[in-house]
Structure formats: C-alpha cells, structure tokens
C-alpha cells in the first residue's frame, strides 16, 4: 500500500536579517498510510506544531525557509501554487487546533462556519448545506443540532466547541486530518470523550489522523505508530505497543518514566528528565539530547548519531536503552 502522506527531510528554519537562522524542524521524515493514526510526540519547542503548520502550508509567508518534500498522493504540497493549496485545504486535508474558543469566529453563528466549508468545497446550496451541517453536528455528538446552528461560539461549552471544530474539519471527509493538541485546552473528562470521538470518526470515514501531542496518555490510547521528536528531529519511531513496552531512546524512556503509574508503590518519586530544551546541542556535530541524557557517551558529542532503521523501528541513538554498554 502506498503512503497517503510522505514527509521527507522536512526542514523549517526561521530567518531573521542579521541573525543566524533558528532551525525549528531539522530533517523530519515520516509516512502516513491511509486511515492510519500517527502520533507526533515531544515537549514544547521540539518542532511538532511547526511540522503540522508546514504540512498545511500555514506558516507565515515571510521569515521562514521550508525545504524537503511533503507529498500527498504523490503531489508535492510545497510545490503547489497558493490557489491549488487553498483548494486542497479543508477538502483533502484539514486541521484542528489547540484552543477551540479562539479557533472559531466569535461573531458568526457556528452553523455558518460549518456551511461555509460545505458551500466552498462541495458546492452545496444554502438549505442543503444547512441540513448537512445539522447532520454533522449531530454526528459529533452535539445535542439539539438544529438549534445549535444558530448559536455563537461563546454560547457553547469548551467540549462542544471542539466537537464543532471537528465537525467543520471533517465536513468534506478529508483523507488527512492533523490534530494539534486538540485536547490540551479541555477538562480531563472531556478530553477522553473528544479522543473517543476522533477515533470513532476517523475509523468511520477512513481519514488518516496525525495526532500532535505532548501527552503520552493520548498516544497510548489512540495512535497506531508514534514518532518521538526531539530538537526538530525524530529520535525514535515505533509501533505503539513496541514503544511503550520497550522504549529504546533514552528520551522516550525518560518521558515514559516521568508519567505517574497507578500500579507503582505509593509515594514513589517520579523520574524527571534533567535540564530543558535550552540545553540542546546543535545536531550538526552531536546528539542534541546528550547534555540531558543519563546514558550519554563521549561519542555522543563527537558527531551526529546515525539513524538506525530495523524491523519498522527507527532509532537515533548510540547507546539505546536495553543494550548493555
């Protein structure tokens, strides 16, 4: 089966006159199969959101340089004209954002924001679009959808707003949906509902989902494959169960170790990863994670660690966990 989305050697650098470029994404590559749920995991500043904006071509027009290739159905999204890209957004690929309140237009009723996409991409007439919009709201579990069409965003709860945004993003049954931390702004109880909803909808429509999150709990319940990002590069990629059972990269290992466990002894201290992203070394001549890594060797600061790909698993580490050294 050929991949729906192929991201290859994607680099995003923010440029500023008189200053060295700041590289946010440094050669990220991953595939998404049709209908697959792929996770992009990492802490703040690792480049996961920038990657998603680059795929949607939503980065600001100026002040950045994007190289590499992003192919969807064989067509390079980076090579499309602005107009062609606008045609695809919302129709072939769409995105939901972190904050459901600020992502909705506050002065337009929710219904109009759903029908806008329907008339734009599916050419529906006004009343047909309205019927379809009510159906969509119903499908994402918004009660009394006909009345809710006339509600303004501030009249909906946080969970309902995110449901509405999901309805809008899936209105034209895109084949790819990118969700950028869709549950971060929500209550924990609502988070679970939204994740279940997403899971159910992508299964029904066959939409592939790229899930961007810093929450490994979200990944554990949802993703087929997981990419762990650090400092703008993928440091480990594995199938979900593999990753949780045997994390190989010390960073992944550290992330998993920092999650409180229900079955751990009471009063157990959580393992923390020392330092912060500010301690990163440049990838060009070291492993960026080395200064924070408990397993760092001298060799880790002597050159870029090579990428090793075996059994569907990708690893960028000289001294992985689970290997005697």
């Amino acid at each position: 089966m050929s991949a729906l989305l192929e991201v290859e050697d994607l680099k995003v650098a923010f440029t500023r006159r008189g200053e060295p470029d700041s590289v946010a994404v440094d050669g990220v590559g991953f595939d998404v199969e049709p209908g697959e749920i792929v996770g992009l995991v990492g802490e703040s500043g690792c480049g996961k959101s920038v990657t998603s904006l680059a795929i949607m071509r939503l980065l600001p027009e100026r002040g950045n340089r994007v190289t590499g290739s992003i192919r969807m159905d064989g067509a390079d999204l980076l090579a499309l004209s602005d107009k062609e890209m606008r045609e695809r957004r919302g129709k072939d690929l769409s995105m939901i954002f972190q904050d459901p309140l600020s992502s909705l237009n506050p002065v337009i009723p929710v219904g109009l924001q759903v029908t806008e996409v329907l008339t734009r991409h599916r050419g529906l007439r006004k009343d047909a679009a309205r019927r379809e919009a009510a159906d969509l709201l119903d499908r994402v579990g918004i009660p009394d959808p006909r009345r809710r069409l006339d509600s303004y965003p501030h009249q909906l709860s946080g969970g309902m707003r995110q449901r509405a945004l999901i309805a809008i993003a899936l209105a034209c049954t895109p084949r790819l949906l990118i969700a950028d931390e869709p549950t971060t702004a929500l209550d924990v109880t609502i988070q679970a509902q939204i994740l279940d909803l997403l899971k159910q909808l992508v299964a029904e429509t066959g939409t592939a989902l790229v899930m961007i999150t810093h929450d490994l709990g979200v990944v554990a319940g949802l993703c087929d494959r997981v990419n762990v990002l650090y400092g703008g590069r993928i440091v480990e990629r594995a199938e979900r169960h593999e990753l949780f059972r045997t994390p190989r990269h010390p960073y992944t290992h550290g992330l998993l170790g920092s999650i409180p466990r229900l079955d751990g002894p009471p009063g157990e201290e959580l393992a923390a990863i020392r330092g912060s992203v500010n301690d990163n070394l440049p990838w060009t001549d070291a492993c960026a994670f080395a200064p924070r890594c408990p397993r760092a060797l001298d060799a880790c600061t002597a050159g870029t660690p090579p990428v090793e790909e075996r059994d569907g698993r990708l690893l960028r580490c000289l001294n992985p966990v689970g290997v005697m050294s």
């Binding site: 949607m56 939503l58 606008r86 045609e87 695809r88 957004r89 919302g90 129709k91 769409s94 995105m95 954002f97 904050d99 600020s102 992502s103 909705l104 237009n105 506050p106 002065v107 337009i108 009723p109 806008e116 996409v117 734009r120 991409h121 009345r147 006339d150 509600s151 303004y152 501030h154 009249q155 945004l165 809008i168 993003a169």
Partner: protein, 305 residues
C-alpha cells in the same frame, strides 16, 4: 411563585440565541451613562427632525417689532411670541436656536459617515493586504494625523473658493478619514494573526471571504465606538469652522458656531446670545461622547472596572 428550575430555564432560553450585539445592547441598557447620552441624542435628533414645526418663526425673518427695540446697549429678552427674545439683527433667537440643530446634525452625521466609509476602505485595504499597500496608505495617514485636526480642517476649508456647508462637511470628513483608517488597520492586523483566521485558512476559505467575513466584522467593534465619539468632535470642528468664518455665510441658515461668533461683539450687552448656542454645542457633544464611552464598555466587557 416560580421555582428556581423554571427561572433557570427561562434564563437559558433568553441566553439561547443571543448574539454578541444583543449582549452588548443589553449591557448598554443597564448603564446609566449610556441612558443619559442616548436621551440627550434622542432629544437632539427629534428636535432637529421636527425643527420647522417647533420653531415659531423662520430663521431668516427679521421682525420690525424686534428691530425697533434694539439699542446699542440693549437687546431685548423674552417677550410675547418670542420666547428667548431677539438676536442682534431683530430675528427670533429661539427659532434660530432650534433650526440650527438641523445644520449641526447634518454636518456631524455626514462628516462622520464620509470619514467612516473612506477610513474603513483604506484601513481594511492596508490591514488585509499589508506589504507596500499598507506602507503607502499608512504613511499618508501618518502625515494627516501629524497635523492638528482643527488646523487641518481650517486649511482644507480655506482652500474652497466660496465657503459653504459642503466645504465644511468635506473638510471635517477628511480630518476623520485617517482616524478610522489607522484604527481599523490595527484591528485588522490583530485579526490577521488570530487563531480563527488561521483556522479559516486551514479550511481553504478564499482570501476575500476571509477578509470580509472573518476579519472585518471582528475588527469593526472599536471603529463603531470611535464613530460615536467622532460625531462629537465633528460637531465641535464644524462649529469651530463656522465660528472662524469658514462655514456657510448664508444668513438665512442658522448655525450654532456662527451664532456664537456673531454674539461675540454683544457679550456685554446680552450674554444669552452666546450662552445658548454654546450650551447646545456642549450638550450634543457630551451626549455623543457619553454614548460612545458606554458603547466602548459594552462591546468590550473586559475593559470594565
């Protein structure tokens, strides 16, 4: 007695389909400052609409019986048929005062509207497209804003070969354009970077639709408030222009600024001739300012103390 449950339900129903505008209006109705402003403006508008019915006489009519009583050291006050007495030329002061409200309303509203339309056009263009369009438009705006507004109005009005009501409107409108343009441009820029515009872009919404449907309506709030406040300054500017002799010279037309100017020479003889037009100007300007400030608060609840 209604139960708590039914009261809650009524409240939920009331809130149900309430738009932001309705919400703001509800807040406005509860604000005493807004009520006072609205009452003043309401009275002013009613008076100017029905001015010919309220005023007992024509603004230009000179009455011999009034003229006869004029002395260099006295101008008669109230007498039968003439509630506020005579002006310096033997015309009915009360009628002129009432009829002048029309000029003020017409000039104020037109100058603000014209300024608003062109200001919104320029501000929306600059804010939506950015780049060199923005740079050119905003530099011109900067130049206009750097000149004190009244000075600018005087210069423009003085360019006209023959001062008239139209030249006053044009002069004041031109002064208003950069104010609206600058304000809207800033609000549009803020919208351009907002999450919901990014979200709309991510759905493939066309650029024009994004500007018209997603940016402009969200950016207009402060502009609408400014329009109310600008009505006040427009009225003051127009009055100032007439006061300086750059307004409509037609004696048949009564105008508060001009009445004020003419009353100057008779301040020691009959101060009322200056007092009433001055109070009228102040009241109307105050009314618009109060309503404008209250609207600002109603539209942006965060700004409330």
């Amino acid at each position: 007695m209604t139960s708590l449950l039914t009261r809650r339900r009524t409240r939920i129903d009331e809130l149900g389909g309430r738009s932001l505008t309705a919400d703001a209006l509800a807040r406005l109705r509860r604000n005493p400052v807004a009520i006072v402003g609205a009452v003043i403006i309401g009275l002013f508008v009613l008076i100017s609409i029905f001015a010919p019915l309220i005023a007992p006489h024509d603004a230009a009519a000179v009455f011999p019986e009034l003229q006869r009583t004029l002395r260099p050291d006295s101008i008669p006050g109230s007498m039968p048929g003439f509630p506020l007495g005579s002006d310096q030329n033997g015309r009915d002061f009360f009628s002129r005062l009432i009829l002048a409200s029309r000029q003020t309303l017409i000039v104020g509203v037109l100058a603000t509207l014209i300024g608003l339309v062109f200001g919104v056009l320029i501000g929306a263009l600059a804010g939506a497209f950015g780049g060199w369009v923005d740079t050119v438009l905003m530099r011109v705006t900067d130049v206009l804003l750097s000149i004190p507004s009244l000075l600018l109005a005087i210069s423009i009005a003085a360019l006209a070969a023959r001062p008239s009501q139209t030249t006053v409107i044009i002069a004041v409108a031109l002064v208003n354009v950069p104010i609206f343009a600058r304000l809207l441009r800033g609000a549009m820029l803020a919208q351009r970077d907002s999450d919901h515009v990014l979200a709309a872009t991510s759905l493939g919404v066309k650029r024009n639709a994004i500007v018209v449907r997603h940016m402009l309506p969200n950016a207009l709030g402060p502009v609408i408030v400014q329009a109310t406040l600008t009505l006040a300054t427009s009225i003051l500017d127009a009055a100032a222009l007439s006061f300086l002799g750059l307004g409509d010279g037609d004696p048949a037309r009564a105008e508060w600024g001009l009445m004020l100017a003419n009353a100057q020479s008779y301040l020691d003889v009959r101060p009322a001739l200056a007092f009433y037009p001055a109070v009228a100007i102040i009241l109307v300007a105050l009314g618009f300012t109060l309503l404008g400030e209250a609207m600002r608060e109603a539209i942006d609840p965060k700004g409330r103390r």
